[in-house]
């Protein structure tokens, strides 16, 4: 365990940024967002960023390759592979866990090399929460907001930022920071951890649990009558999907710039009416089906395929952002109520 005085945060960031790009949450008109650090930029106080940290590994749009046509021949140009490493500072425990969920998709065979490359280049400095929101329910997924995973775990307590390496990458990063850091005792953050854990349990969603979902069969959940009323007001927008740290559906599209075709991948949402639209029709025609798919995927399909791990980390973004106030907690409660 190391620590650094808050007053030296700027130096710390400057030191990191010397070697590699540093991204951290800063205050912005919409709330907090990740930005590349530059002198003068201040770490945001916000509990979490509006957009999740998944953007760094799975950006909203990304070039896959270009194709040039001449006559009947095609020339396929893959993009250059990026090689610069970077540090993600201030990722909350929920978002750190979301990387594991994204890994289980993108790193599964066949590996998505675009994603893998970014994951490998990144060092994640996770920051423990000390001011949880009423929308937080990471505890429901066994996430300890007070002890985040990551390459380095960090805590703000008193005048200090405490840092603890959790991986080789983390060790390497702390090693580079050298004399900026001083040794510290893990006990220094324990009080804060206890307080955070207590706050989380005392907040309205402190007792939310999803484990009950597992008691019911996939098809029984699927056929539940509640989906109708739950999905009734859904606008079919992609807000929940796009702010969600674990949603990873994408579309592959092309753009003809007149000289070549640019294939790119971009986020897609299973809530969109044309998500499953193909030449021979659409297999999910109603918003009910699409709504159900999103939540079934997170709460049933994903755990079925990944040792019971839900496709949700309880970050609460969708609770804050859904235009019509629908969210995964309401869904879980409604589904479970049916089978009580």
């Amino acid at each position: 365990m190391k620590r650094v005085n808050r007053s030296k945060l700027g130096d710390l960031f400057a030191k990191i940024a010397e070697a590699e790009a540093l991204y951290l949450p800063v205050d912005a008109p919409e709330g907090a967002r990740y930005e590349k650090w530059a002198p003068g930029k201040k770490l945001s106080n916000a509990t979490n960023t509006v957009r999740s940290a998944k953007d760094f590994f799975f950006p909203q749009t990304e070039r896959l390759y270009d194709v040039k046509r001449s006559g009947k021949t095609l020339e396929i140009e893959p993009p250059e592979t990026e090689t610069e490493s970077f540090v993600l500072f201030g990722v909350r425990a929920c978002d750190v866990r979301s990387f594991k969920i994204l890994d289980s998709v993108f790193l599964a065979d066949p590996v998505d090399t675009f994603y893998k490359n970014r994951r490998e280049r990144a060092t994640v400095v996770a920051l423990a929460c000390d001011r949880p929101e009423e929308t937080c329910f990471c505890g429901a997924f066994g996430i300890d907001a007070a002890a985040p995973e990551g390459d380095v775990s960090a805590w703000f307590e008193g005048d200090f930022l405490y840092l603890k390496a959790q991986s080789e990458k983390g060790e390497a990063l702390l090693a580079k920071l050298g004399d900026l850091l001083e040794d510290a005792d893990e006990k220094d953050v324990e009080t804060q951890q206890m307080r955070t854990r207590w706050m989380l349990s005392a907040l309205p969603l402190g007792k939310v649990s999803f484990e009950g979902m597992k008691k019911t069969d996939l098809m029984d959940h699927f056929k539940n009558e509640k989906w109708r009323s739950l999905s009734e007001a859904c606008l079919g927008c992609g807000t929940c999907t796009f702010v969600c740290p674990t949603c990873q559906c994408y579309d592959v599209k092309e753009f003809d710039d007149g000289r070549k075709i640019r294939k790119f991948r971009c986020w897609d949402s299973c809530m969109y009416s044309d998500f499953t639209l193909m030449a021979h029709g659409n297999s999910r025609n109603s918003q009910l089906e699409r709504f159900r798919q999103r939540f079934m995927h997170k709460l049933v399909y994903h755990p079925n395929n990944h040792d019971g791990e839900f496709g949700c980390v309880g970050c609460g973004r969708c609770l804050q952002k859904c235009p019509i106030g629908m969210n995964i907690v309401k869904v879980e409660k409604a589904l479970e109520a049916t089978h009580e």
Binding site: Q60, P204, F242, W267, I324, M326
Partner: protein, 327 residues
């Protein structure tokens, strides 16, 4: 007011005037209310809610609801009633299949603004007079003036008048209210072009194309949006380039020009806090100034300024010569 609404809804269900009720349903917290259809008195008693956060404009749901058999009761706030009237003008809703009870609205609160005050760990919010009492997990209570956390659309409310209804909950209709809703537009107009450009790049570059603004908008009720239709040639799903952000928002504002009632839902739902209403209001302001005052949804008038003309309209060049900053 909630109790009176529930009572009236139950009466109207009972006497057969309607067979279901469009309203707002309680959530996990005070603020995450969801538009919902209620079928029984029990459901109404249990879940119907009307509070400082029932801001969602329910008029768009009535497009689908009025196509269903039976008759639905809709509680419309003044701004919702403008949207509904506009949808009537566009033949999108079946007026006969809805029974409208006009309800007054004195402004709705924006949860995001409450959070922006720095209050975290909220365990409860209650309404008392004009205030919101916010209690946190640390047992602190913050009194927040509702006015200070009004949604943008309520802060710049144009009218308390309900323009279409079968009955009024209060028996009395409100009136248009003086407002400064074009001030912000004027402020941007007064910026030098470079600053204006930088301002809008800063705002629009935040767009994540979640389509919340479009999907919530009562005027954006196309069977298929051009941006979702591969055949339109302009379909796109993500802001793959700055241009796409501009294109989407310019065209969206243009498509609703003359039809946008300024209900403010687009800005309310934007997860990235883009002041989208400033685009719509720009068109409204221009139309008012160039073609005479016009308020979409206010009357039965079906020809709006973009589908109308006068022989002596201003020439497009006026854009480059009138007021504001020159180049």
């Amino acid at each position: 007011m909630q109790d009176r609404m529930i009572a009236r809804a139950k009466e109207l269900l009972e006497n057969g005037t309607v067979d279901r009720v469009m309203g707002w349903k309680k959530g996990e917290f005070i603020y995450d209310v969801t538009p919902a259809v209620f079928y029984t008195a029990d459901e109404l008693e249990k879940d119907f809610v009307m509070n400082a956060f029932t801001a969602a404009n329910v008029s768009k749901y009535l497009i689908a609801e009025t196509k269903k058999p039976g008759r639905i009761l809709a509680f419309l706030k003044p701004c919702d009633s403008y949207s509904f009237r506009q949808l009537m003008n566009e033949h999108r809703v079946d007026r006969d299949n809805v029974y409208i009870v006009g309800i007054p609205s004195w402004g709705k609160a924006d949860m995001e603004k409450i959070r922006a005050l720095g209050i975290t760990g909220i365990t409860d919010i209650t309404e008392k007079d004009g205030d919101l009492l916010v209690t946190t997990v640390m047992r602190e209570t913050h009194a927040v003036k509702k006015y200070d956390v009004y949604l943008e659309k309520c802060k710049n409310c144009k009218s308390k008048r309900i323009v279409v209804y079968d009955e009024l909950l209060d028996g009395e209709n409100g009136e248009d209210v003086p407002n400064n809703r074009f001030d912000e537009v004027a402020k941007i107009e007064a910026m030098p072009p470079d600053e204006r450009f930088a301002f809008w790049r800063g705002e629009l570059s935040r767009c994540i194309r979640c389509n919340a603004c479009r999907n919530v908008c009562p005027a954006c009720s196309c069977e298929k949006c051009v941006f979702d239709n591969p055949k339109s040639g302009v379909e796109n799903k993500a802001p793959a380039d700055d241009f796409e952000e501009n294109l989407f928002h310019i065209i969206r504002a243009y498509h609703v020009a003359g039809r946008c009632t300024d209900c403010g839902e687009c800005s309310r739902v934007c997860p990235q806090h883009i002041p989208l209403h400033l685009l719509n209001r720009k068109f409204i302001k221009d139309m008012n100034e160039l073609y005479g005052d016009y308020q979409a949804g206010e009357t039965e008038q079906v020809r709006h300024p973009v589908t109308n003309y006068r022989d002596d309209d201003a020439e497009p060049g006026i854009v480059y010569t009138r007021g504001g900053s020159g180049r």
